[in-house]
Symmetry: C2
Subunit: 186 residues, 2 copies
DNA sequence: GTCTATAGTGTGATAGAC
DNA sequence: GTCTATCACACTATAGAC
């Protein structure tokens, strides 16, 4: 891993743990072992490095989601696979947490990957739900509800200090969904 | 409103907008019009003032929830009233957002009101759900799922820059719930 | 109770040597 | 590419006068 990469990975880690406002260039340097001058050689400043880090995290989220969605089975089984996938619940969502960062939301460049990630994920899920539910219920409203369960589950888990609530929330959501799943042909 | 109160109200506002890490004592002083010395007379420091602000916000959240829950009607109607209640969606949840603040979660005193608020809300909702659903589905898992929809809805709305997604997520969740509501005796 | 002064540390970046 | 030096400003307080 070269210097540039180490900076991005450290930024990703710290952004995840402490957010944009809570992460200083100095902290990134200390975490990565890269010096001041070196960092400013590779990136114009904190926002530039953060953008690279956010983009990489967004890409990773998408890839991991696609892996779960590619599980063999019915659409409902593929949705379930995604929701039950392993997660670092207590650390929260590396993209979702940025939503609470005033400086990220205020900067269109930093905000864009966050916005696009959720638009993509919600759309992807809506398609699967449309297949799974076959008009028993509105996929266009159900998709954001499900994504919200995941994101809100992180909030509850962090508040409680335990991953259990996230699991329960997912169980609850899938439990509700189950009753609407088209019984045949999937 | 006296000086102490003005400080608490300003801290509440800024904590809501910028979080704990992103809010400086100086900013609170500027926002409230209270001087440096005055602030440190009334509070021992930033954590002390933040605690007062968080406690007040937590109390307010509870009171507002109880107002909605007290709506006349069936348990499902009371739950619906709570979920459809007016919200400053794009500002997010003043308590839920603290969950992403590393310094809040690291301080047991600051964290406690956050934890208790969600424990209370989830429990309250579980009781109403148990009445509304009458064992058609597990209220113990459904309650955190619903709270998560609310919290996650804020995340989606902020990411999208529009309150619509929050509304859709709530619609989706209530739509799923509707099919399980006990049809008589409520 | 409120004010001003002061202080030590951190932030985010620039400059220029190597 | 990487290093050290330096900078102007912000952060979070403390001290002591009024």
């Amino acid at each position: 891993m070269d210097t540039r990469d180490r900076l991005i990975e450290s930024a990703r880690e710290l952004l995840w743990e402490r957010g944009y406002v809570g992460t200083s260039p100095k902290a990134i340097q200390a975490h990565s072992g890269v010096g001041q001058g070196s960092m400013y050689h590779h990136f114009t400043g904190k926002p530039d490095l953060a953008l690279a880090a956010i983009n990489r995290s967004a890409e990773e989220l998408r890839e991991r989601a696609e892996v779960a969605f590619a599980t063999p089975g019915t659409p409902f089984e593929r949705i379930t696979a995604y929701f039950r996938r392993e997660r670092e619940v207590l650390k929260g969502c590396p993209i979702g947490r940025l939503t609470q960062d005033p400086d990220v939301m205020a900067d269109p460049e930093l905000r864009k990957p966050v916005q696009e990630t959720f638009t993509w994920l919600t759309g992807r899920l809506a398609d699967l739900l449309a297949e799974a539910l076959e008009d028993t219920v509105d996929a266009h409203a159900t998709a954001p509800a499900l994504v919200a369960v995941l994101q809100g589950g992180y909030v509850l888990a962090r508040a409680a200090g335990s991953a259990d609530v996230h699991t329960r929330a997912v169980d609850g959501a899938l439990g509700l969904l189950a009753g609407y799943v088209a019984k045949e042909g999937n």
